[in-house]
């Protein structure tokens, strides 16, 4: 535990940021040392929302353990479910129906859009602009409604199962997604106008939180955090899963290495997600939405690793099976944890206001970090 100290011998101020703090978006505890307004040391302290999901998974069957992953990175629950379903399918060598693959990718990209929208609103709020949050939620609500209609849930979806998806899509799904894409394309321009082009915003974002390409790799950063430093790490591109190898999209790379580059990566990724959805929405093939699987899934003895690209970066699922109905050991490699580890490197020497901006752009989801 930490000793409660207010000032150390160098006249520096030690402050507990969190676990209850508006900018940590959850129960992250940062112990920062301040010299005036400048952060000289930063120590993340985790564990406030640790639910031992990995341990729980060891006593859950291969159908059940997927549901716990919706509670990890709750903003990209579809994509987390996807990673686990892929792991089981890979081990069992189940062929997935084409229709299920299309639905999965569509859902994943919608999730990515929803997640990035929430990030955009929350990040702007961290910087002191409160209104973008409401604009972001206005469009996110539409995605949530689409999800609710098909999956019956708005946050913890639990829709992907080994072998496909749980239900067929709702009859309105295609039409509503198309309507949403039309709506969203007009609104994302508004986002750019309101926040990206703002002089105050650009001054706040540029040249802060610099992490070079080498450092980003050595800290294990993934997702937009690494791509903002020019690291090509999009799992959808480099290790394509599902039907990502058949769709046209660009891996967004920015070379500024600062917070603004990471911001731009996320904004441009939204355009790419829209592009993927547009390609697939009219092509959903007819057929089964779920492959026939045995009622009780038993994985063969061995070790299986799958990875997917969530909205925050690379999510790895490592399953060790002894051949039984439950996994022997499961390890999740969550993107947020590695990205958080680079926070001190990014923040050192910057002002306390920059800390908030850098954290906002990292898009930390604390349950993903703690699991």
């Amino acid at each position: 535990m930490f000793e409660q100290v207010s000032a150390n011998n160098n006249g520096e101020l030690v402050i507990n940021v969190g676990p209850q703090h508006p900018a940590t978006h959850g129960v992250l505890h940062l112990l920062i040392t301040l010299h005036g307004e400048t952060v000289t040391k930063l120590e993340p302290n985790l564990g406030y929302i640790h639910r031992s999901i990995e341990k729980m998974c060891e006593s859950l069957s291969y159908r059940q353990f997927i549901y716990t992953t919706s509670r990890m990175d709750y903003l990209s629950s579809h994509i987390n479910n996807h990673a686990c379903a892929l792991g089981v399918e890979k081990a069992m060598q189940i062929e997935i129906p084409e229709r299920a693959e299309y639905i999965r990718v569509l859902m994943s990209e919608l999730t990515r859009l929803a997640s990035h929208q929430l990030w955009w609103g929350a990040m702007a709020m961290d910087l002191g602009a409160l209104s973008p949050f409401f604009y972001a939620f206005r469009e996110r609500e539409v995605i949530n409604d689409i999800m609710e209609e098909t999956c019956g849930a708005r946050l913890t979806m639990n829709y992907f199962v080994p072998g496909g998806v749980m239900y067929d899509i709702h009859p309105n799904f295609v039409k509503r997604v198309k309507d949403f894409i039309v709506l969203f394309k007009s609104k994302i321009a508004e986002y750019d106008e309101l926040v990206t082009g703002n002089v105050i915003f650009q001054n706040r974002m540029k040249n802060i939180g610099i992490i070079s390409k080498e450092d980003a790799i050595s800290y294990g950063c993934t997702g937009p955090t690494a791509r903002g430093s020019g690291v090509s790490c999009d799992v959808r591109k480099n290790y394509p899963y599902s039907i990502y190898k058949n769709v046209q999209f660009d891996e967004v790379l920015e070379y500024g290495c600062d917070a603004f580059s990471r911001y731009q990566v996320r904004i441009k990724e939204m355009y790419q997600s829209v592009r993927i959805i547009e390609q697939l929405i009219d092509q959903i093939p007819e057929g089964e939405f779920q492959a026939k699987t045995k009622a009780v899934i038993k994985l063969p003895k061995g070790e299986f690793y799958t990875r997917v690209e969530t909205a925050r970066g690379e999510l790895g699922v490592y399953i060790v099976s002894e051949g039984g109905t439950t996994p022997y050991r499961i390890k999740f490699r969550s993107p947020g944890f590695s990205n958080l580890s680079a926070l001190e490197h990014m923040v050192k020497g910057h002002k306390i206001g920059d800390l908030v901006a850098i954290m906002g752009v990292l898009d930390l989801v604390i349950p993903d970090i703690d699991r």
Binding site: S6, L13, I15, H21, P22, A23, L34, E37, A124, M125, D126, L127, G128, A129, L130, S131, F133, F134, Y135, R138, L194, V195, N198, I200, F201, N203, R204, K351, I352, G353, D354, L355, V356
Partner: protein
């Protein structure tokens, strides 16, 4: 025609006819004190409600709509709630200063109401250095904030208070320079004379470009001075959780909150007085009919209309812009606003000496 001027004059006559001079002064003073407190509370309620509705309008929400028609009593309900809450004092706080700070901030806000001309010939105290009085007194409010931040025994509060100190002292200069540009034109510090000098047109229009620059600088500087976003460094809820009032609760917090809104009202009232003609109606050169109609609108409506327009602009800022960083904030003042306003003042002096203004 019934106006505030006539009402006050008739009350004065009524009292002087029946009572001795000392009694008249005593009664009038207590009436004014009562009115000032009422105005203070009323302005707070109206402005908080306005802020909520403006923010709701900008943020595609409805805003308060349950308590009373259109939610107009929401602020009253909140005030009652805050009044009933425990006024918490943290351990290790400097109790005396901690309790004193909200009152310092509030008393200063109330004093600032004194020289403002709310309508034609209607001000509590039309002293001959009115504008100077306002600039002098308003800079004292930083002491209240520093007091609150220091006495709370909280690092966030301390940081917020230090930021606030640096910020208010810096922006005071620009606001002062912007005010001076108009003083140079009018040659008087008395509010009634400043307003009267605009009877043939507002200084914003008469003073050429320097007046417009001064107006813009004034609005930026006072937004910073009243700790409003995008310059709400002292509060910065996403960075410092609540800044100097993190530890305050109950009525003490409400007083800080009220004082903030009263300060906004005052700076906007001063802005309206200096640049937009105070209670002077809007006239266009030789359009007799138009000018006559404009004269028919009561002067208090003109004054409040202009003030509330400026308040709306400041609220609009808050709900649109992200916050600046502390060093950028100080850079903006010392590297841009201050030099610009200095040259602006020189230029305006030249205009005033040469008589180039209208």
């Amino acid at each position: 025609m019934i106006s505030l001027e006539n009402i006050s004059a008739s009350i004065h006559q009524l009292l002087s006819a029946n009572l001795s001079q000392t009694a008249v002064i005593l009664i009038e003073m207590s009436i004014i004190a009562l009115l000032a407190i009422t105005l203070f509370a009323l302005l707070g309620l109206i402005l908080v409600f306005m802020e909520r509705k403006v923010s709701a309008w900008i943020q595609i929400r409805l805003g308060p709509n349950r308590v009373g028609p259109k939610g107009i009593f929401q602020t009253t309900a909140d005030t009652i709630k805050l009044a009933l809450k425990e006024g918490f004092v943290p351990d290790g706080a400097d109790k005396f200063l901690y309790k004193l700070a909200p009152f310092v901030v509030m008393i200063i806000a109330m004093m600032l109401l004194a020289p403002i001309a709310f309508a034609k010939n209607f001000a509590m105290w039309d002293l001959n250095i009115g504008v100077f009085f306002i600039t002098a007194i308003s800079s004292v409010s930083v002491i209240g904030i520093l007091m609150a931040g220091w006495a709370s025994n909280n690092q966030y509060s301390l940081l917020g208070a230090m930021r606030s100190g640096a910020q208010i002292i810096s922006y005071e200069i620009s606001a002062g320079m912007a005010i001076l540009t108009i003083i140079v034109l009018t040659g008087s510090l008395q509010i009634s004379e400043i307003v009267n000098s605009q009877s043939n047109g507002w200084w914003l229009f008469k003073g050429h470009i320097p007046a417009v620059i001064a107006f813009v600088i004034y609005i930026i500087a006072v937004t910073a001075e009243t700790n409003r976003a995008p310059f709400d460094m002292a509060e910065a809820e996403s960075e410092l959780t609540g800044g100097f009032h993190t530890e305050y609760s109950g009525m003490r917090f409400a007083l800080f909150f009220l004082a903030e809104y009263i300060n906004i009202f005052i700076v906007c009232a001063v802005g309206a007085t200096l640049f937009l003609g105070g209670w002077m109606p809007f006239h266009i050169g030789a359009w007799e009919g138009f000018n006559h109609i404009m004269d028919f609108i009561p002067s208090s409506v003109w004054f409040l209309g202009k003030t509330f327009f400026l308040i709306f602009v400041i609220m609009w800022f808050r709900w649109t812009f992200p916050r600046l960083r502390i060093d950028q904030l100080l850079n903006l003042e010392w590297k841009y606003l201050l030099p610009i306003s200095l040259f602006n003042l020189l230029f305006m002096t030249l205009i005033a000496i040469k008589g180039w203004h209208f």
